[in-house]
Symmetry: C2
Subunit: 424 residues, 2 copies
């Protein structure tokens, strides 16, 4: 359990405040709180601003091991010639090391939660627990010709399910069902996932409408759009995360909104793979359907910085609509913070009494944060990870004044692991 | 004059190297160089990689004072209601402070040269000289109804011209002619600039084809595209920098290439203002016309990070062409480094014997740089300013192991200046 923290002289909405954190939540916010003897004091000295932390709603953490392994090529060549061959050789230990490396980067860039889908999820859970971040980790569902992989996956998922209570006990980790996509998971498995999610109260995490091809093929095969198809199988609920969602009809948007499902928007990955553009203006501003933000994996981004992702989200929204008023900083900031938290039932993403104490201290005396006529604008359009001084998740300190306890060891392990990968 | 520097154990192209720097250039690169007693030694310890520094070919440095002052609005409202009223009140001292703040940010983000266009250029020159960066600073030309501003500008330009020799003596600062744009500067003044540039060996720096409206109006008024119009006036030469260049016909691209003029591509600003998309594939890959990269001012970006700008350039090229193979990391990296240097006749942008010693030391033991299967990919797609450890310009150290000598004073001055601005 997190101990108490007293923030002294931090800047909140332009004013100096003291903030008391107890039992993982904001307990009191006031101009001055008299020091308590039983808490850790962090002094903001009037130059550290308190900000909500980020919630990354779609990634493949361990792929950080493959950052810069292959870039600038068409999806199929990239997967077949580069990614799949090396992925096939990744061991559970590699996934554990890669997940820790990813979480290290997330902490430095201000992220306290990630929604993950990858091989050997128990290793990602182990890494997340050790590093005290929040995570939703998917039990992967895939259909296909490779029966060995299917069986192995089923085994892994069974082990995770059997330990669900222990895994989720600390309140920071949550298991999800992660059918990969409509083109890689059969109808029966999708129906099964929907049924299981409903009965056993799971979130579903799925890639949807990432490419035009997927959209076209779905229309051809099922006479429905991907969103309609998923809805027909009972997959679209308020506990469903739809990664990408680039190809949506107006009625798809209304359907997603009506079901309360959550879109994870990933502008960097969509641009880097040349997949297409998310229709931000239509979805968010015309249909008033809230979105969340994700980074995708470090293989197709190539980093996990939600700061950078916010800027890409805002700027690509303006570019797409030819309108600088579209994709306002405050809306993008909310998508990356409270919307992401809300999607996963975390009562966080805001600095307010009673909310989860997930927050950053941001250095206002940093060249990228000056001038500071508008703090939210600076977070969305200017800041990079060097502006983040301290990161706290559920009242537990992940980074204090730039220091992360296990950083050196993780980097050393990761370095050795990457060398092995190149020789596999 | 810069003293000698010996880099020990730095990583270059994946190998450990010692590098000797003398008289502002790379003198020797070898597996080992025996220590010299007359030089400053910087030890890379096998974890700092040496990289070319960045050359920012279009910005308005002092506008950093207005970062986050007004965002997310249409260009005309933004200018009329927010930017112009506050700009009108900026004093020469404000410009000096704003320029220093901008240069501080440039150094932290790895930039050693900027091409500037703004009010009171002598103040920007003063700042650049003090902070030892390279700069091309424009003498602004504007036509219009405000005779007072025109006269004031002429006075300033005359003063600068009279002191040209002293200003340019150190080899790092260069005066340019900066007619603002074809819609804001009359034909006579553009002809005059072209003539003066030719006779007195000046660079010309101009905004061109930034908006569709400019392109259309030029066709209507002059029966020529903006590029053709500038060429008809003798403005297009190999010493011309064309900022933006979004609206180009195929023959415009060939014309620019034939004249050897330099495009400054600024994806963030173009996206943020909703101006349109640069046709990277057509210009660079189909017509083989090289480009350079700029950040524009911090008011329309909102930072001066060339690292971020490279990622936007690469990803927007892929998005624009729906092709992930377009905008390759190495081409974008060259645009931000050696192409920018070349455009201004600086023999730099590469780590090679005889080249200008403009370089960065980049921390490879940083979460954003690991895995490091491809260093250039990591610089373009993953790195942020926190990865940059040391910055050297012409053999003079601007930042050493994250420390910049005058940083605290500059930030304090800038903070006070921003407070004044809010009360103007």
């Amino acid at each position: 359990m997190a101990s108490s923290i007293l923030l002294k002289n931090v800047i909140l909405d332009g004013k100096s405040r003291d903030i008391m954190i107890e039992n993982g939540v904001f307990k009191e916010i006031a101009p001055e709180i008299i020091d308590s003897t039983n808490c850790q004091i962090i002094d903001g000295k009037g130059t550290l601003a308190v900000s909500p932390a980020f919630y990354n709603t779609h990634t493949h953490a361990a792929m950080t091991l493959l950052r810069s392994y292959a870039d600038d090529m068409a999806l199929f060549k990239w997967l077949q010639q580069y990614i799949w061959p090396v992925e096939a050789k990744l061991t559970p230990e590699d996934i554990y090391i890669g997940s820790k490396l990813a979480i290290l980067e997330m902490i430095r860039t201000g992220t306290v939660f990630f929604n993950d889908m990858y091989w050997y999820p128990m290793e990602t859970i182990r890494a997340a627990k050790e590093m005290k971040v929040r995570a939703a980790v998917g039990m992967l569902f895939l259909s296909g010709s490779d029966t060995k992989i299917e069986l192995q996956n089923s085994d892994i998922n069974r082990q995770l399910e059997n330990n669900r209570q222990a895994i989720e006990a600390d309140g920071k980790i949550r298991l999800t069902l992660a059918p990969h996509a409509i083109y890689s998971v059969g109808k029966d498995k999708l129906l099964g996932a929907a049924d299981k999610a409903r009965r056993e109260n799971y979130y579903i995490h799925i890639h949807m409408a990432e490419t035009r091809e997927e959209f076209k093929n779905c229309l051809k095969e099922h006479h429905m759009t991907p969103a309609e198809y998923l809805d027909s199988l009972g997959v679209l609920t308020e506990k469903t995360i739809l990664a990408h969602s680039l190809f949506l009809s107006p009625s798809d948007i209304e359907l997603i909104k009506a079901r309360g499902a959550h879109i994870s928007h990933m502008p960097c990955s969509n641009m880097k793979l040349g997949s297409g553009s998310f229709h931000y203006h239509e979805v968010v501003e015309m249909h008033n359907c809230p979105i969340t933000i994700g980074t995708d994996g470090a293989c197709s981004n190539n980093n996990l910085s939600m700061l950078e992702e916010m800027k890409f989200a805002a700027l690509s929204a303006k570019r797409q609509s030819h309108n600088p008023e579209v994709g306002k900083d405050i809306d993008i900031f909310k998508a990356a913070t409270c919307n992401g938290a809300k999607a996963f039932g975390i009562d966080g993403g805001e600095i307010a009494v009673g909310k989860a104490a997930d927050f950053l201290l941001v250095d206002l005396e940093h060249p990228l944060m000056m001038a500071n006529h508008n703090f939210i604008s600076n977070m969305v359009y200017s800041a990079d990870s060097s502006c983040i001084d301290t990161v706290v998740c559920g009242g537990e300190i992940l980074m204090l004044h730039k220091f992360i306890e296990s950083e050196k060891e993780i980097l050393q392990e990761a370095k050795e692991c990457c060398c092995r990968l190149q020789n596999y």
